[in-house]
Symmetry: C2
Subunit: 203 residues, 2 copies
């Protein structure tokens, strides 16, 4: 079953959105916690987070141009801080609910059933229900002119982990953490381990 | 178990690489197929691919500064074309082997056990063993100065799919496709479906 450029551009809009979003496979699913300067919190579901580098420890994420995620980006610009929090299978439906269009300035934490958690003097709220919580500071926003998206780059400042999920070599075990993954915008998955492989050598 | 910025920067290099790479969770795993202007092919494993937009259909991926993936990027710059191909559980070990440091100009296809497949007049090789094969044309390379990485943006030109994996609404079913996901650099997973959820509404 083959599609070329003209097939794709002729697709009905919602069909194309679903098709292209789900096509490349599993993605990094996280809830982003932020607060504005008055301490009003926001919680939003994102699946566009990616590893950018280990030293300094940097993560990237993409913001769309249409403003669905307006509060999140505005809060990050104002405070310079945000958290990313993994999603667990016991409450993935509640995490999905944070993707609804809540009015600006209205926190998703309480109505969606999540508890804010704070650490040290970090202003952005962590999600108490998550087993992996990461606090980041904004480092850079890069405008991507080809489709008016923005790439946010943040540095990892705090890592708060449930006990017993880090192996002796630093590997974070997402089976033990219970992390959920996503394909497309609405399809959620748990995982089964195939295995860890040794560093590949030219033979 | 908590780590702050100074704990992270004090980590032994290999421990930090493993820790930070595995920390955010599951990633989009793909083999990238390219060819140079003489038709010498290259196949390399990447886990930094992300959705950038559906219209036009764009994917982003990150290249590291250290040149492990030198042939892939050079081939893409020269020919403007590349393919991304999903990894199946039956041969994930062979896919991992493509991440070894093969000499420049030496194709990983045959020694790692993969067959090149060509479609239409597209110059870059697809991986015949994959169930989802995507042909892309380079649109832009953005230098990310904070850590000397590069963001490659490509537009989807061809999509070649095994029969029966696209739902009536355009959703690509990665359980049916058999797509493998990865956490960190070396840990591979299959998935189990939790469910697809309806578009979330403010209630």
């Amino acid at each position: 079953m083959n599609f070329n450029q003209s097939h794709i551009s002729a697709m009905e809009k919602r069909y194309r959105t679903t098709f292209i979003n789900s096509l490349p496979g599993y993605k990094c699913l996280q809830m982003i916690g932020t607060a504005n300067n008055n301490g009003v919190t926001n919680l939003a579901l994102f699946n566009s987070i990616f590893h950018l580098g280990a030293n300094p420890p940097l993560l990237g994420m993409i913001f769309r141009p249409d403003g669905d995620d307006h509060d999140t980006l505005e809060n990050i610009k104002k405070t310079g801080q945000y958290t990313i929090n993994n999603v667990l299978p016991e409450w993935f439906e509640k995490a999905h609910q944070t993707s609804a269009r809540y009015p600006s300035g209205y926190s998703e934490f309480e109505p969606c059933g999540f508890k804010e958690s704070y650490y040290d003097d970090f202003k952005a709220p962590f999600v108490a229900e998550s087993s992996i919580m990461i606090g980041l500071e904004m480092r850079e926003i890069i405008d991507i002119s080809i489709n008016n998206t923005k790439l946010l780059i943040g540095e990892i400042i705090h890592v708060l982990l449930k006990d017993g999920i880090v192996a002796s070599d630093g590997y974070v075990d997402h089976i033990k953490a219970g992390t959920v993954t996503v394909a497309g915008l609405d399809s959620y998955f748990t995982t089964e381990h195939l295995g860890r492989l040794a560093y590949a050598k030219f033979i």
